[in-house]
């Protein structure tokens, strides 16, 4: 079909095509290089199953913590007027732009065996986060929470606060309005935030390996496994990566179909 406004300029079309190639070629190359007939055997390998299970488990637990902690924080940021709110939001979003390996170092300083919180915690309970599955969850929560908070805050903001006012005139307490009005109205955004947080957790590598090392069955998640496998067995690393690619695409599809439709197309 001819565009009545004239031919699209090559100055835009060529870089755009370049961008597409840059994004697509590596993934296609990876799929093409994977030894597909050997894949079932790779998938049955014990380290992969252990790491995949650990990744799914820790990401799911992490995103539940993100919900329990992030939903209230998002509400505070969206609904309460107070001094320093902008500053608070900036602080909350820092981990979003922080290099994950730095996040790992920061977590060490706070929750390590000699950390500000880690040391008294160890003395009191005999428990320390680093090199445990809980440590993995902690690292995941740290990097994913900002995603969850920011998406849910956006969802709360787009739910008209006048609905809260209507609920109040009908005799609802703030808690009742939150439970019966604010959250249901923001539900699609909350779900999208949780999926984003889950995907972020699943891919988390830098903070996890810095804070927890790489112990199979305990702290070795999929990205960690791919990283170490890559050094010895190229084929296995490809198979593992393909699994992660499939999981990521599945997440993207789940997001697109249910929650990221074009505005107004929602039913």
């Amino acid at each position: 079909m001819r565009d009545p406004l004239g031919r699209p300029p090559a100055l835009l079309m060529v870089p755009a095509a370049g961008a597409v190639l840059l994004l697509v070629v590596p993934l296609v190359a990876m799929v093409a290089a994977t030894d597909l007939p050997g894949l079932p055997a790779q998938l049955r390998s014990e380290p992969l199953r252990e790491a995949l299970w650990l990744s799914v488990l820790t990401s799911t637990v992490a995103v539940l913590f993100c919900l329990v902690l992030g939903l209230p924080l998002a509400w505070v940021l969206a609904r309460l007027e107070f001094r320093g709110r902008t500053l608070l939001r900036a602080l909350v979003t820092v981990p979003l732009v922080l290099p994950p390996v730095v996040a790992g170092v920061a977590l060490r300083t706070a929750f390590g065996r000699t950390g500000v919180i880690g040391e008294p915690l160890l003395e009191l309970t005999g428990f320390a986060f680093p090199f445990t599955t809980w440590g993995v969850v902690l690292a995941h929560v740290f990097v994913s929470l900002p995603f969850v908070v920011i998406s849910i805050e956006g969802a709360f903001r787009s739910a008209d606060p006048d609905y809260d006012a209507a609920a109040a005139t009908l005799g609802a307490s703030r808690w009742t309005s939150f439970r019966r009005v604010t959250v249901p109205l923001a539900l699609p955004g909350i779900a999208a935030g949780m999926i984003l947080g889950w995907a972020r957790s699943l891919g988390e590598f830098g903070a996890t390996i810095t804070f927890n090392g790489n112990y199979p069955g305990v702290t070795q998640t999929m990205p960690n496994l791919i990283y170490v496998t890559r050094q010895s067995d190229q084929d296995a690393a490809l198979a593992l990566s393909l699994v992660m690619l499939v999981v990521s695409v599945a997440v993207l599809l789940a997001l697109r179909d249910r929650w990221l439709g074009t505005p107004g197309a929602r039913t």
Binding site: D160, Y163, A165, A168, T169, L170, A172, V181, L185, L187
Partner: protein, 330 residues
């Protein structure tokens, strides 16, 4: 006064108002956009802070939080909860006040029935027409059994026919309602058909309070005069009111001796029923209704200089300020 509503409040920078209303009465609040109507209602509902007092049956509403006030508010644009069915919307108030679910739903069904939409209980707000949604909104406000019902522009955005039907029906419900109703509107017809008293807000202050008859016969501000379709001319101590159909329009200075005559350019021409309504920028602005034939013959287009005149026998004169506004005579 025993019980009832006694208000003397100020919302900073928005509105200052003092008035009373008796149990069972309907007070219409009219005024132009920005007159402070919505601020007044939101202050009474507890959604914006206000100073002063607003005693409802001797209890000061302003000392209570929004949720503790026995006040029902029907918002402009309804604000029905989109994720709840009509029934759940109406049951929301009773449930929030601790009434068990089954009982709240039974009473909600009753309210929907009373407003003639019992069969729509299971629908979501987006599956309702404007008129149906407004009925649900009214049922939702009444289901909490408020002693003060605030209706903020309940007919805005509705189809003209739907609005008229709802107006008649609402009038019937309000007549049976023993609480006090404040009806915010910018349609004179609401004030004149439903209300017992009319309060005119202008520029954040009360301009006039009276019965619909008093206000429509003796408007004290240009705005009220326009709302009820009259011209008002202010002298030092008297107001002169006359309807637009008695105003004669001519291109030359009127002969004879009408004392009441003005000159100015035509500002606007619009159809009004079978006639043509001409707004003229005299001092003050005046409206005149002429026949379409006359409008064509005189070439009444905006900008044309015209003379307006009125016979002395066609006007009504009254004092500017017999009573200070602020009290409702009952």
């Amino acid at each position: 006064m025993t019980g009832g509503l006694e208000v003397d409040l100020a919302v900073s920078g928005r509105v200052t108002a003092a008035f009373t209303a008796e149990p069972g009465s309907v007070l219409a609040i009219i005024g132009p956009n920005g007159a402070g109507k919505s601020s007044l209602v939101r202050a009474l509902a507890g959604l914006v802070p206000a100073e002063g007092h607003a005693r409802l049956d001797h209890v000061d509403l302003l000392q209570q939080s929004a949720r503790d006030r026995e006040v029902g508010l029907v918002f402009q644009g309804q604000l029905l909860f989109p994720h709840l069915s009509a029934l759940d919307n109406v049951a929301f108030g009773p449930r929030a006040r601790g009434i068990p679910r089954a009982e709240a739903e039974r009473s909600a069904q009753e309210w929907l029935g009373r407003l003639g939409i019992g069969e729509l209980a299971g629908r979501r707000p987006r599956q309702l027409s404007g008129g149906q949604a407004q009925r649900v909104a009214i049922a939702r406000a009444l289901a909490t059994e408020p002693r003060l019902l605030l209706l903020d522009e309940p007919f805005t955005g509705l189809d003209v026919k739907v609005a008229m039907a709802l107006r008649i029906e609402l009038g019937r419900h309000l007549a049976a309602y023993d609480g006090i109703t404040l009806l915010i509107t910018h349609h004179a017809i609401d004030a004149l058909t439903i209300a017992d008293h009319v309060l005119v807000l202008d520029g954040g202050e009360v301009a006039q309070i009276g019965t619909p008859h008093e206000v429509s016969q003796r408007p004290r501000t240009d705005h009220v005069a326009r709302l009820v379709g009259l011209n008002v001319v202010r002298d030092e101590h008297t107001l002169t009111a006359f309807p637009p159909e008695v105003v004669a329009v001519s291109l030359t200075e009127p002969t004879g001796s009408p004392r009441l005559r003005w000159r100015g350019p035509v500002a606007d021409v619009s159809p009004h029923g079978d006639a043509v309504r001409v707004m003229v920028q005299a001092s003050p602005d005046l409206i005149a209704d002429v026949t379409p034939a006359a409008a064509a013959e005189l070439g009444l287009i905006p900008g044309r200089e015209v003379w307006l005149s009125v016979k002395e026998t066609a006007v009504r004169r009254y004092a500017t300020d017999p009573d200070p506004p602020g009290t409702v005579a009952s």
